[in-house]
């Protein structure tokens, strides 16, 4: 189980090629913009692996004024939940 943090949208593709069952992808900083993408792109999230969790850091969404524009399957997490995620996974890969 790996927690992948993605801090810009352009590194997401590389990250997605490596995720697998039990992993969590967490969008942070400018990476949160990827949660806005249209459903055609969003369908690729679910197609990667149904057993992958998709999360977005809510403070970075709020800072960019897009808290209410995030799309499924992403779910917002707090800073405290971010810490919980790092503890719940075997390792963290910080992309970007």
């Amino acid at each position: 189980m790996i927690l992948h943090t993605v801090n810009k949208t352009e590194v997401l593709e590389r990250c997605l090629a490596l995720v697998s069952e039990g992993d969590t992808v967490l969008l942070i900083e400018d990476g949160v913009y990827a949660s806005l993408e249209a459903p055609s792109t969003a369908s690729t999230w679910a197609s990667v692996d149904p057993a992958v969790s998709w999360r977005v850091l809510e403070t970075d969404l709020a800072a960019r004024g897009i808290s209410d524009k995030m799309r499924a399957p992403f779910e917002a997490v707090s800073q405290a939940q971010f810490i919980d995620l790092t503890l719940a996974h075997e390792k963290v890969i910080s992309w970007g």
């Binding site: 790996i2 590389r14 090629a17 490596l18 890969i93 910080s94 992309w95 970007g96």
Partner: protein
């Protein structure tokens, strides 16, 4: 000291930033402390592996000359991501001591190592 295995994913081109150079420094440091290090060149990171890099006129430190020396400093596992090499037209057959790796192999390495660092 506990032994920790490190996987370095080098995605940066050689001279566009200091990241590629930093990756080599970290590999050498970890190996000096007898930690197991695997370096994978992927995406633009494979651009470090082209031979014939002439850096003198540009006054840059030639990174490509440092890579073949890594095994001498106990950085034994060097790999190149094959789809990235193909994308940039890099012939992996000409690379000594560097193992080609497919997508599945890359995923496997990220699971096997204790720490994964991206450059």
């Amino acid at each position: 000291m506990d032994n920790i295995s490190y996987l370095l994913l080098v995605r940066s081109s050689p001279y566009g930033s200091a990241r590629a150079r930093a990756a080599i420094d970290i590999a050498l440091t970890a190996a000096a402390f007898e930690q197991a290090v695997t370096v994978v060149f992927l995406d633009e990171g494979v651009l470090q592996l082209f031979d014939g890099q002439e850096t003198d006129i540009a006054e840059l430190k030639n990174i490509s000359q440092m890579i073949p020396a890594l095994p001498l400093y106990e950085v034994k596992a060097l790999c190149v991501h094959l789809p990235s090499a193909e994308k940039f037209g890099l012939d992996v057959a000409g690379l000594a001591e560097i193992t080609p790796l497919d997508d599945a192999g890359l995923t496997r390495l990220t699971r096997e190592h204790d720490q994964v660092l991206v450059f």
